[in-house]
Symmetry: C2
Subunit: 393 residues, 2 copies
């Protein structure tokens, strides 16, 4: 096992009756709160009113930034930081999906940095070390941003998604109420759930080193659990147990325990260049790419077949067919069927009427401008990425 350091300081309030603790967390930092949210769905579900009542009851000064986009724009982040400076915001409360939480983290860093433009931080033109405290209230089980130290921002002008990360960005507290996810549509539930799975695939399950028994077995179990509970949540939106399981799993998939010691490059998240290009949901793009990536890799070497066979049996629950190759194929097919028949998601880009694709541009982005992803589960060249993209068409 490689040496590693682990710390995750976020205080989690989990459950349906925790909102009364919100003011306690706010008061740790001050009295001026910027509430950040997206398109207004938190108003429809009544969460906005509940949060505002709780804050105002304790005489907390509330400012607002609404309209954070699904792939949050850097211009929105810039606007948020301007508000924070103008009104001496002491803590940012992010109420929404991963995008809202990510945008809030970026605002938190930009507010205390020596520039008005978050992209200067992304491109490392301006150094930064501090950030305002962030409190996260996720309304979908997906990115796990609520316990994580990184954020991803979209620069539409440059047509690129990138981000910043640092221990100071980790939310100080997270309020995880499964009932806040009841109204997430089946499609968005599915996309969020697949994002959880992709985090686990990427950094912890398909690894380029020895498998560490504890982390590996736990990740496999979390994957299986997410698969099972995701099927339930898509069918029964107000199943508390399924929603709670997914919400807690989302945080754990990305809170550094599962990755401890591994140094594998996140290949699926690198290949996932569709969402910024087509403003497609991140999890959906991952659901399209993952089975194709597996099919493409299957014949690379015997260990791949063995790993995918184990995945088939232990995660997808297929019957043992007696040899790795068949089990691996059955596992990939089971994953593809899961995406199609249980999650009801498209499995190709053409199903989404996306045809004007510049694959040559995408393959460069996938490799972050380099010639390959050398530290992926299996190294991928730009050519490999191109071939995988062709399978997604």
């Amino acid at each position: 096992m490689n040496d590693f350091q682990f710390q995750n300081t976020t205080k989690v309030y989990f459950g349906k009756d925790q909102l009364a603790h919100l003011h306690e967390e706010v008061f740790k930092y001050g009295k001026n709160v910027l509430v950040v949210y997206g398109g207004g769905s938190i108003k429809k579900i009544g969460l906005y009113d509940k949060v505002m009542n709780e804050l105002k009851e304790h005489d907390i000064e509330v400012y607002e930034l609404s309209g954070v986009e699904p792939n949050p724009r850097h211009t929105t982040v810039n606007k948020g930081a301007q508000i924070c400076r103008e009104y001496h915001i002491s803590v940012i409360l992010a109420v929404g999906g991963g995008s809202t939480i990510d945008a809030s983290k970026a605002i938190a860093a930009l507010t205390l940095a020596d520039t008005d433009n978050i992209w200067d931080l992304v491109e490392k033109k301006v150094t930064w070390a501090n950030a305002l405290p962030v409190i996260a209230m996720p309304t979908i089980a997906s990115t796990g941003s609520e316990m994580d130290k990184s954020c991803v921002i979209a620069n539409v002008e440059k047509n690129i998604k990138s981000g910043i990360n640092g221990e100071v960005l980790r939310p100080k507290a997270a309020f995880l109420d499964p009932t806040n996810t009841f109204t997430v549509s089946p499609i968005q539930t599915a996309c969020g759930g697949f994002d959880i799975m992709a985090h686990l695939f990427d950094m912890n399950y398909f690894v380029n080193s020895d498998k560490y028994p504890l982390q590996f077995n736990v990740v496999e179990t979390v994957l299986k659990t997410v698969r099972e509970q995701l099927s339930i949540a898509v069918k029964e939106p107000d199943n508390y147990s399924a929603r709670a399981t997914l919400l807690w799993a989302a945080s754990w998939a990305l809170n550094s325990f599962c990755t401890s010691g591994y140094k594998t490059q996140a290949q699926l998240h690198s290949l996932e260049q569709f969402s910024s290009t087509y403003d497609m949901t991140h999890g959906l793009a991952l659901a399209i790419i993952t089975p194709k990536w597996m099919s493409y890799l299957l014949n690379k070497d015997e260990t791949v077949a063995k790993d995918f066979a184990r995945f088939g049996i232990n995660v997808m629950g297929i019957k043992d067919l007696g040899n790795d190759k068949d089990n691996a194929l059955a596992g990939i097919n089971a994953l593809q069927s899961f995406v199609k028949d249980e999650l009801h998601l498209p499995v190709t880009l053409s199903e989404m009427n996306i045809t004007d694709i510049d694959l040559d541009e995408l393959k460069v982005k996938a490799c972050h401008g380099e010639v390959s992803l050398p530290k992926a589960y299996r190294p991928l060249t730009q050519e490999d990425c191109l071939n995988i993209y062709k399978m997604c068409l």
Copy 2:
């Protein structure tokens, strides 16, 4: 799922090359360190010298408290706090097993409390809220005290083990180096490993409520992993992977993630009154008690048989015999064989020549002076405890 709050702030340095970070952690709090350790095994393995060199190289003032007992005495804790006060200790470094770390936490609290006797804190005669910072360097995979917020102390005069707990007792940092556990004897390795399993059994696996899919599945996987890796570590003391897995698993068994939401009373740890009475290793006592407790409960109701059957298949790896009762029995037998044949531990008290047992006294202690343990997996009366003890003779 019950509502819960979760936070674990300990910074973990995991691996064989992390000691160079020790002074960074110390300097966060000051320059006067009390190094607490046990009977001197850390000198034999060279760890003492390595730690001292690292501290002195950075001009850190070092004080020492050695001779912490396997079940740490409250008088030792009192002595430690006296040293801390006299020499204005700024941080305590615990190098050793769970007892050393527990004693250090108690010293940390007592130093800042308004009494010279830790037992005043245990008996709540004196209130306390603060503690000196503790850095933990465990040398055995066992109690998980290095990421936990509680400690257990023995009062030999009163013939009782009890403790204190609080968020401020959680170690600020933990240095987990698997190579520091290479020289732990097979017997102590086995006892430590069983302690890990008992933490999981007690608070997370045999639960008195619904099973929460994520936590339950993860705990089951950790149990299976510990069982497998413990067998290896007992046979191959310097198997890095097995030692690393056990060390990391020990921390995770008790660091609050696995328990999140559960409210089950820790029955095995309540029944475990042998170690304070006979100065027996805690994990050994648990290994004697657990299979007897399972056999005793087996016929209580059908759910017990179902739960134990699942345990047999998923944790102990028995072949499915077709019905719960048979699978449950096979699971219990497999656990008993595991203790006897793989861990090479005694399975009864008489094998240890312990015969002068006042069972009536023990049964009262097991129920903490009450008539029963009402919130255990299955409620246990004093009579139940007595019957289980009789099976351990």
